[in-house]
Amino acid sequence: MSDRTWLAQVPVRRLLERDLEARFPLPPGDRPLVEVGTTVSAGDPLLEHLRDRRIEQVEVRPGLEGAAAAPAPGSRWSLPAGRRQDPAREGELLSPMPGGRDRWRLVTGGHRVALASPVAGEVTEVRPGAEIRVRPAGPAVRGGFAAGSAARGRLELATDPFGELRPGGIDVGRAGSILVVGARIDAEALTRARAMGVCGIVVASLPGKELRDFQASERRQRAALHPAPPFGVLVLDGALRRPIPGPLTRLLEDHAGQPVSLLVDPPALVFEDADPEPALPEPAWVRIRSGPNAGAEGRVLGLAGPRRFAANVVLEAAWVSIDGEPPVDVPLGDLERFA
């Protein structure tokens, strides 16, 4: 097999992706402020989120003031003029009551909170009662999973790729930033970062316990009358500790100080630079993603064929040289190369 053919057996991790779509929930009652095809900039209003949602029954007859010409599910409705002004009696028509088209269920609520788009791009879909989708203008680094809310901030590298950020290492000087914190972080540091005004965290791994603790804290924050600004955590790899991949670290270093968007659905970090040229490593440069050498990087020298590993498991393997040492057999499934 030629070099190109055997290298094709090694799984690829794309440094940058350009075809993802950010998804923002738009449950019944929330009001979209954009239309399909709209170009939004980061910070532009995207939707109004209705808090303390409830349902009321209202009479909606065409001709009555406040009613749409032909009431339809998803259309707006407000209390006709000349009656007691009740700001709560404004909302979205959900469905007619059974048996008649004049009485409708209205989704209304206490007050509305505007949600600004964390990312610049084009609105590709608006589904009332379901979601809004935005295709980012810039390329993105896709992560393994994310928690919290989509956010935007200035990219800062807080530690080296192998490091761990402790709560004491975060102060208000980091406010407004999205911090790259190396190999791992704990829930206490995450909540402190949120309290200090940090917008987001990018980390290689986050153990399940820390994730659950953070999610519980985040739920309490969102339920508060005056919730904290959006804060998200993007986990690049998984739950077990390992450093951020070298090529990815270089890409993040290149964009330090620039504004970036952290998305939760899908988990990704979006750059505003429309066409960055990532410095790709040589084609045979690989990272060992899992297994005994997890996190190490080196050069793949060739396919080793089926090899017997621990627990008597036979797997397709490749020879990998780490730091110029003699090659070791590594299962192909544990490797990733960059493109």
């Binding site: 690829v12 929930p25 077990l240 627990a311």
Partner: protein, 561 residues
């Protein structure tokens, strides 16, 4: 495929791995000549080239005969390709929980990821939010036929809510089942006839045991080349070719499949099947209960947090960390998934017991064949005597994509010796009384088998590790000790006759005291499984782990108890 008489390729594009084979004509029949798998994302062409290269190196003459000696010559081969994808989502809504349950069961069996909502007593806003969920691509609304007293008053509300959802999302496929499905009726009249999404009228969930509704929902799910549908079709053909009742149990990253097919002379076999998403290796909406089940099968002394982290890694990169502890974790997760698969398909337990059970799917690939046999015996606790096999090359599903029944049967008949790895046979009686020997078993060569191919059995203690002995004795005896797991070394290709003499009547598929049955060998030999049915394991995790480890150690060389 028929147009090229030399060789063809099969490709099974899974959500975690891609498996490929080269099937060539040798000696006037189709034979499996190479098989392999790669992480998902690797181009099938690259995998096929690896197989071709390996074939050319191992058997140049065969490669030359199949014209596969040149680099890149596998690229243009005819291919049978199937694919599995993450399950699409469906919201199922009914007036009451009573009506909802069979609807949910039918949708889950058809391979949908289901969000079920009962209108009775529910918050309307919650129901509307679930109906319009952005990930849902279809809504199934159903009622009994005729509607029951508990649902009649809620049906107008139900129909109005679903129609309003369809108006918000015109592209949503809407299925009206049972009492809501009157053609031209009031419910159907609420939907705009010219909207982009279809409005489908379906039978009630109770009609035909739910099978007509399941088939309809499976059709809506789409994908002509769906791997699980193809695997079910191949199961039917396999039953015809082997002339046996066959059950295939597949576990994958995106779901599982249970397909059962009987056989009768001159009749085409058609498999009954279900593909619940809940049987995925790590199901969507993974909970602490799922975690507990996996820990319950795990033979590693890992704490709960560590197991959860390892499973999250497995979810992110299902092809990684497949050796060592990773293999043991996968097999524990596969056992738990198999339990969920069986629990989600109780109707299959009322079908005649299978004579052959086949394990399929990627998670089994990391374990040695005897350990897979043990996993099947641990979880599939239906009393009887049956052979066990494994779809080792993931060849069945691609063969199931052959549309023509006769052609599929011809190809599978040619490949009958290559399709499955024989794992062995299992003898699984139930109704044994604990505390005293249950009887004796005699093992002798089958008619036509040579004594040398008949190693002897040895006895094992109750609830202790399985024991095995090897020797050339033509006939051997084994005392049947309730609670024990006995191994008899019966190699692939060999056959033996078992004579079982129980002190009391037991359930062995049929209720009897004396049974004589022919069994076939395999890589796992013969498992005489005298443990409880269903399997009862110690509540204390350490004791449970020790027991599982002891059973596993004898069948998984390289893993210590």
């Amino acid at each position: 495929m028929s147009s090229d008489p030399r060789v063809f390729a099969t490709v099974d594009l899974g959500t975690a791995t891609v498996a490929a084979t080269l099937v060539g004509r040798a000696g006037g029949r189709w034979r499996l000549v190479a098989a392999g798998a790669s992480p998902a994302g690797i181009e099938p062409d690259a995998l096929l080239e690896r197989l071709r290269s390996r074939l050319a190196g191992a058997d140049p003459a065969l490669a030359r005969e199949l014209r596969l000696e040149a680099d890149g010559s596998a690229a243009d081969l005819a291919r049978l390709t199937c694919a599995t994808a993450p399950a699409p989502e469906m919201t199922v809504v009914a007036a009451s929980g009573r009506v909802l349950r069979p609807l949910v069961a039918a949708a889950e069996a058809a391979g949908w990821r289901v969000r079920g909502v009962a209108l009775d007593g529910a918050d309307i806003l919650g129901v509307a939010t679930a109906l319009a969920h952005p990930r849902a691509s279809a809504v199934l609304a159903g009622a009994s036929d005729p509607p029951g007293a508990d649902e009649r008053s809620l049906l107008p509300e139900l129909a109005t809510l679903v129609a309003a959802t369809a108006e918000r999302r015109p592209g949503l496929v809407t299925v009206l089942a049972g009492g809501l499905a009157e053609p031209g009726g009031r419910a159907e009249g609420l939907f705009h006839p010219d909207r982009p999404g279809a409005t489908v009228l379906a039978p009630a969930a109770a009609a035909g045991g739910g099978e007509p509704l399941r088939e309809l929902l499976d059709g809506i799910r789409g994908r002509d080349d769906d791997g699980r549908r193809a695997l079910a079709r191949a199961t039917g053909t396999l039953a015809e070719v082997l002339e046996r009742r066959v059950e295939v149990l597949e576990i994958g990253r995106s779901g599982g499949l249970r397909a059962a097919a009987g056989w009768s002379p001159g009749q085409p076999s058609r498999a009954r099947w279900a593909a619940p998403v809940a049987a995925a290796l790590l199901p969507p909406g993974f909970t602490d209960r799922h975690l507990d089940t996996i820990i319950g099968w795990l033979t590693l002394p890992l704490d709960r947090l560590r197991v959860r982290d390892r499973l999250r890694e497995l979810a992110v990169a299902p092809w990684g960390d497949a050796a060592g502890d990773g293999a043991l974790l996968r097999v524990a997760a596969a056992r738990a998934a198999l339990e969920r698969l069986l629990a989600a398909t109780p109707a299959f337990d009322r079908l005649p017991a299978p004579e052959l059970v086949v394990a399929a799917g990627g998670p089994w690939a990391v374990a040695p064949a005897p350990a897979v046999a043990l996993a099947l015996a641990d979880v599939f606790r239906r009393p009887g005597v049956r052979a066990l096999g494994q779809d080792h090359a993931r060849l069945l599903a691609p063969l199931g994509t052959i549309d023509d029944d006769d052609e599929r049967r011809r190809v599978m008949a040619d490949l009958r010796d290559d399709l499955l790895v024989p794992l062995g046979s299992v003898v699984l009686p139930s109704g044994l009384r604990p505390g005293r020997p249950a009887g004796r078993m005699t093992i002798g060569p089958a008619a036509g088998a040579t004594p040398a191919a008949m190693p002897a059995a040895a006895e094992g203690g109750a609830a202790g590790p399985p024991s095995a002995a090897r020797g050339p004795a033509p006939v051997s005896e084994l005392e049947l000790v309730p609670g024990s797991l006995e191994l008899v070394d019966l190699p692939p290709g060999s056959r033996a006759v078992l004579e079982l003499h129980f002190r009391d009547t037991v359930d062995l598929g049929v209720r009897a005291r004396h049974v004589a049955v022919e069994v076939t060998g395999g890589l796992g030999g013969l498992l005489v499984d005298l443990r409880d049915v269903p399997l009862r394991l110690p509540e204390r995790l350490e004791r449970r782990r020790d027991l599982l480890s002891a059973w596993q150690a004898a069948l998984w060389p390289g893993v210590e108890a």
